[in-house]
Amino acid sequence: MIDVGRICLKTAGREAGRYCVVINKIDENFVMVTGPKSATNVKRRRCNILHLEPLEERIKIKADASDSEVIKEYEKSGIFSRFNIEKPSPEKIKAIQEMKAIKEKEKKERPPEKPKIKPKKKEKSTEKKKGDKKEGSEKEKKGLLKGKIKFKPGVKKIAEKKKPAKTKKVKKSKK
């Protein structure tokens, strides 16, 4: 029942009660859909089949058709008058395209900000580790000093071997 070019009613989510067209099939369960946004205010998006109510009407479009092609087909098949949808004016389409361009620009600007924050955290963590090493080395010295006692140093060494990262770095610092 749900195939490319089928007109549907959205029944779930914030776009519930609005009409849309199926553009492409993704899975058994999911489908690509548009209003288009300029006409019925449904965004071009993935949609679950359970959230759609298929109707009798169908239009002839290719898979992954653009929004302008869909609007042309609406005019030919007289769907604007059938569902009481207003024809989108060219000004409205322009405004939506401009908004899209602005949002894409913002998305491009966002990702370089994230790596700036991450290395700072790493530096902090490394500084803390350095502090730990110093403490660890001091403890080792104490352990060596106490090495004359039979059992205590052996127990400490085993405990240190369980944390290999710390012990290796300590050796480097000694050299």
Partner: protein, 92 residues
């Protein structure tokens, strides 16, 4: 007489008798009832049970779901109602 701050209809009262025989009044702030679907009478998800003055301060998306009939019908009932209303017009 209670002090003037407690003499309002905004507070909930409970009267209790103490073991000595004296009676006491406890005051509580009233809480709104949990929101319920208008069709199936089940409790609604995503509707905050805060008083109206606090609701205004919270974000719009936290007050109620953003779909049509959000905060009045549950999602299952909203689907049925939308289908009924929209398809009647189309399938005449």
């Amino acid at each position: 007489m209670p002090r003037p701050a407690l003499r309002t209809g905004f507070l909930r009262r409970i009267r209790k008798k103490l073991p000595g025989g004296a009676s006491i009044v406890y005051y509580f702030k009233k809480k709104p009832k949990a929101a319920v679907c208008a069709r199936c009478k089940k409790p609604l998800h995503g509707v905050s049970g805060i008083s109206s003055s606090r609701k205004k301060k919270s974000a719009k998306s936290k007050r109620k779901p953003q779909r049509p009939y959000g905060g009045n019908l549950c999602s299952k009932c909203a689907r049925v109602v939308i289908k009924e209303k929209k398809l009647k017009r189309v399938r005449k």
